[in-house]
């Protein structure tokens, strides 16, 4: 991603040109799949039956995992990568892309998920982190990664590590959208500030944010994150999803919100319609009708600091 090129023959390392072209092409394909997911809803599913419901509802991808975040929260203990067999079964059951989660920093879980042919990996704070300092070097993989972020610095650090897609962290498994809104607004406002800065100011701002300078400069030039950005963490209703779209997200992840509600198929369809027609209040009103009981939810303010998944990630 970086436009920095070391001068030729400064060290004995081979010239960068061929390698960096291959890396650029590989990144284009990784980021490209995220571009194909835009305007869509990615749904958490725990078995083949749910995956089929999600596909029939119009999900543009599914996230295969053993427990949805609401249950991980309830059960406690260490949350790990899902059983590869269960992920493979879901891959066979649907034609849309399948994603799976690995623990932060757990590059071997990622190797395993890549080996079974999953389409995207979420290096996720929802699972228990396996490394308390490092994230996975995602350039090492052919499979693309999506990572969570609360602010621009975090987002660009993940992109520097090779993430081809970003999502807000929000607060998974709560059904409370407030953190996703906060994270997205933070990222957007930091980007707006960066766009008004001179190069000189950007150096200092990069230091403040903890963001790589070259990526911050590219972000300032583009006026948006340099990869696709989805909303995630607490989206439970069509209105939540449409709000995140109106706030500028490219698409939406819905985790516990669908299969922890009274009528998952109907709610899933409604959220899909809401993301396409996010600017059309009439359609939003229609699809919000009569959806049955939403997930009960947890008010984010009632969470202790150590219960907050958003604080995981470095």
């Amino acid at each position: 991603m970086s436009q920095f090129q070391a001068p030729q023959n400064l060290t004995s390392q081979a010239a960068v040109s061929a390698d960096s072209q291959a890396q650029a092409d590989s990144f284009k394909v990784k980021a490209g799949l995220a571009q194909m997911l835009k305007g869509g809803v990615i749904m958490d599913v725990v078995n083949v039956e749910q995956a089929r419901i999600a596909e029939e509802a119009g999900a543009c991808a599914v996230m295969a995992l053993e427990r949805v975040p609401a249950d991980i929260r309830k059960d406690g203990g260490v949350a790990r990568m899902s059983d590869p067999r269960m992920i493979k079964e879901i891959c066979e059951a649907v034609t849309i892309p399948v994603m799976a989660k690995v623990r932060i920093g757990h590059f071997v879980e990622a190797q395993i998920i890549e080996a079974i042919g999953t389409d995207y990996i979420d290096e996720s704070e929802v699972l228990t982190p396996a490394d308390d300092e490092h994230h996975i070097n995602k350039h090492d993989f052919k499979v693309p990664f999506v990572c969570g972020a609360r602010n621009l610095g975090e987002a660009l650090r993940r992109v520097a590590e090779g993430a081809a897609m970003i999502r807000t962290k929000g607060e998974a498994g709560t059904g409370d959208v407030v953190q996703a809104v906060r994270h997205n607004r933070t990222i957007e406002s930091q980007i707006r500030r960066a766009t008004t800065m001179t190069n000189q100011e950007l150096f200092t701002y990069a230091k403040e944010l903890g963001a790589p300078y070259e990526l911050l400069k590219e972000t300032a030039k583009l006026g948006r994150l340099p990869v696709v950005n989805f909303a995630a963490g607490g989206v439970a209703t069509p209105a939540d999803a449409a709000m995140m779209m109106q706030l500028g997200c490219d698409g939406v992840f819905v985790g516990s919100g669908i299969f922890k509600s009274g009528d998952p198929a109907k709610r899933a369809r409604a959220i899909v319609q809401a993301v396409t027609h996010f600017n059309d209040a009439k359609v939003l009103a229609e699809v919000s009708e009569d959806l049955g009981v939403p997930m009960v939810g947890i008010n984010c303010d009632s969470l202790q600091d150590k219960e907050r998944l958003e604080n995981r990630g470095w």
């Binding site: 092409d25 284009k28 394909v29 490209g32 799949l33 571009q35 194909m36 997911l37 835009k38 305007g39 869509g40 089929r52 596909e55 029939e56 509802a57 119009g58 999900a59 543009c60 991808a61 891959c91 059951a93 649907v94 034609t95 849309i96 892309p97 890549e114 042919g117 999953t118 389409d119 995207y120 052919k142 499979v143 693309p144 369809r269 899909v272 319609q273 993301v275 396409t276 027609h277 059309d280």
Partner: protein
């Protein structure tokens, strides 16, 4: 048959139900002055469909787009539109235009069924099998500036492939090189049929606008 070229300003739509529609919109807006496009319209409703001369169906998930189109009351209007109006399907759009698709989801999926080809979904495999390749593209000669090479940087993402041509009028535009000596012929990844263009790849993910110019020229010949 005489071909009359219509040079009036065109309204071009991009189906915006799901997928990489804004990428196409950005390319079309870049070409607006030189190609005489008056408006680029994101199409989500029947009314918007009624206001355009030509349509691009973008990449994305074809099952998702078909389901949303159905629930938004857009499937029948789309079927009517693509029967006569210039339309280009990229990737998922190619699947939707085709009259037959294999490897579809259980219960099958809705197709617009107007392009007489058989398409295999995700023919090349899963995401780790996605790839880029540069290929000579003689069909782009008319829109390539003289002296420049006509090769084009193709991007294939979980791409479909045309595995059967079901009407002699379908023209093969781009065929991939064979991947093994045992193969007689490579995969067909771009076709033209009357007013329709179908491509497995994503020109909207490159800086090269020639496929968009090609489609606009084609649209002018078919309005």
């Amino acid at each position: 048959m005489t071909i009359s070229i219509d040079s009036r300003p065109l309204n071009i739509g991009v189906l915006a139900l799901q997928g990489a529609f804004s990428e196409h919109v950005i390319v079309l807006n870049k070409l607006a002055n030189t190609e005489n496009i008056s408006k680029v319209i994101e199409v989500r409703t029947k009314e918007q469909l009624g206001s355009i001369d030509a349509l691009i169906i973008p990449g994305g998930e074809s099952t998702t787009m078909a389901l949303i189109a159905e629930r938004s009351g857009l499937i029948e209007p789309l079927r009517e539109f693509v029967k006569t109006k210039p339309t280009w399907g990229t990737c998922a759009g190619l699947i939707l235009l085709s009259h037959k698709a294999t490897n579809t989801k259980k219960n099958g999926q809705e197709l617009l069924g107007v392009l007489p080809v058989t398409v295999s979904r995700n023919k090349f495999g899963r995401q780790v099998d996605s790839f880029t390749i540069s290929l000579p593209s003689p069909c782009l000669d008319a829109v390539t500036e003289s002296g420049n090479s006509n090769s084009f940087p193709y991007v294939f993402i979980r791409a479909p492939c045309i595995i059967g041509i079901d009407d002699p009028l379908v023209q093969e535009l781009i065929v991939l090189p064979t991947s093994s000596p045992a193969e007689e012929k490579g995969d067909i990844v771009a076709v033209k049929y009357k007013h329709l263009l179908g491509t497995s790849f994503h020109p909207e993910l490159t800086n090269d606008n020639r496929w968009h110019q090609y489609f606009i020229n084609m649209a002018r010949e078919n309005i």
